[in-house]
Amino acid sequence: MELRLDGITHRYGAVTVLDGIDLAVGSGQVVCLVGPSGCGKSTLLRIIGGLEMPTGGAVHLMGEPPEGCFNPLTYVFQDFALLPWRTAADNVSLVLEDHPLSAEARSAVVADVLARTKLTDFANAWPRQLSGGMKQRVALARALAVRPAVMLMDEPLSALDSQTRELLMEDLIGLWERERFTAVYVTHNLLEAVRLGHRVVVLSRRPGRISEQMTIDTPLAERDMADPILLAKAERLWVAMRDEAAAADRELLHV
């Protein structure tokens, strides 16, 4: 499915957070959204996911959702958002329980997505027993269970240490290779952006506007962080953002 944003503007009281964002995300494309902290990335993602009403503009979803899709726009949260009172398997099961699915079909789906995220052995573990990387895998399994057409990921790897992050990036690429979902991926990590994005969109500091876009043609599976081309792209993004980031950092929070 494709996603189109037309002139998205958003204000919190007198503060304009987003100002006229136009963006199109093609089917099966991963768009990475980067920008200084507080520029409105999460807000934009919430608007795309229908969790927040924009002050102006509209988001459109085009095309038919894939066969068996329960939740076309599916969110992955930075802090995992797992229910601590449900085991890994039950957290996945949660999002299927409101759909007309037999108990066997449901457990089959749960088993399948847990296998795909390498969690089969941890199906009955409580979230508190899992490491950060494992928790995010459970969250990914949960997202996959509803066969999403579009994945909305808000800094899904930011809460993890760098080694775990590396492993999960590989997993994410593997999953994308299989499912070919459309994705908007918010990150503040430029290396992550050039590793995972077909396209990287840079937002300016508040009010957030698109200040730069960059396409990366290397297929995701072939990307290697030793590749000088990727490193150069990351460097270019940093140059484009650096002054904005510094200014954003000095900004007083008036909220």
Partner: protein, 263 residues
């Protein structure tokens, strides 16, 4: 430069552990000392009866079979009053936690009525609910209702909003979100509310049984006080204390069962 010294340890402390046997030992020592002081005449019977006298009073209750009459009367009132207060209180707490209109309408009422000592309303309770079981159950009901409401809505307020947003982002129904996210999220607070409301119910038992009660631990304690039968008074108070400990134990068990996920 040349001197080699080990770094002194500065951490530790501020971490009280519970040591299983100490509690019972303290009880045994206290009661033995009390018994000894009574026997030696250091504590006159006017001031405090010996523990053995209180035990004898308890034994008499047991032998005559009246213990069961008192206990069953009180337990029945406790169970009915507490259950009603809890059911209505949890429902009202959820309403306040979930709906703006309920919050605006009920909160001021709850805040205004909570601090009223229910004993002060006893004469009115007699007229409203009668001198039978009605006014007794009502006293326990009002005593447990308010703390339950407050614990419940505080628990609902405290549920992590990201979890609710997560539920919404997956298209869960409102009812599913309430049942599977809000309720379990508020459960720890609700259970600690139960602990408080159950203790309040036991405290109020004496007040509830002031009104025309023939049987009941509270009535027994009241009568002992009126007759200055201090041995029975101590026996009755000890029974109330044991009831409190039992309820506390049951709630701990419930917590361990329902909140296994907390580890």
């Amino acid at each position: 430069m040349s001197e080699v010294r080990p770094v002194p340890f500065r951490g530790g402390g501020f971490r009280p552990r519970s040591i299983g046997v100490v509690g019972p030992i303290v009880f045994v020592v206290l009661i033995s000392a009390w018994e000894a002081a009574s026997r030696l005449g250091l504590i006159t019977p006017l001031v405090l009866p010996a523990p053995s006298e209180a035990a004898a009073a308890f034994w008499e209750l047991l032998e005559t079979g009246r213990l069961w009459l008192h206990l069953s009367a009180s337990l029945q009132r406790l169970v009915v009053g507490w259950t009603l207060g809890t059911l209505v209180g949890v429902s009202a707490g959820f309403a306040i936690g979930l709906f703006s209109l309920a919050r605006a309408g009920l909160m001021p009422v709850v805040s205004a009525l909570f601090p009223i000592p229910k004993i002060a309303l006893l004469p009115l309770f007699i007229i409203w609910f009668g001198i039978g079981e009605g006014s007794k159950v009502a006293t326990l009901f009002f005593g447990t209702f308010f703390p339950t409401v407050i614990a419940t809505y505080a628990g609902v307020d405290g549920v992590d909003r990201t979890l609710i947003r997560m539920g919404q982002s997956f298209g869960l129904t409102w009812w599913s979100i309430v049942r599977k996210i809000v309720l379990p999220g508020a459960l720890p607070a609700i259970l600690s509310g139960f602990r408080i409301s159950a203790s309040i119910a036991i405290i109020l038992l004496v007040a509830a049984e002031m009104i025309g009660a023939e049987f009941g631990i509270g009535a027994y304690v009241l009568l002992a006080g009126n007759l200055m039968a201090t041995d029975q008074l101590i026996a009755g108070v000890a029974m109330l204390s044991v009831m409190g400990l039992t309820v506390g134990f049951l709630i701990s068990r419930a917590e361990r069962l329902l909140l296994r996920w907390r580890g």
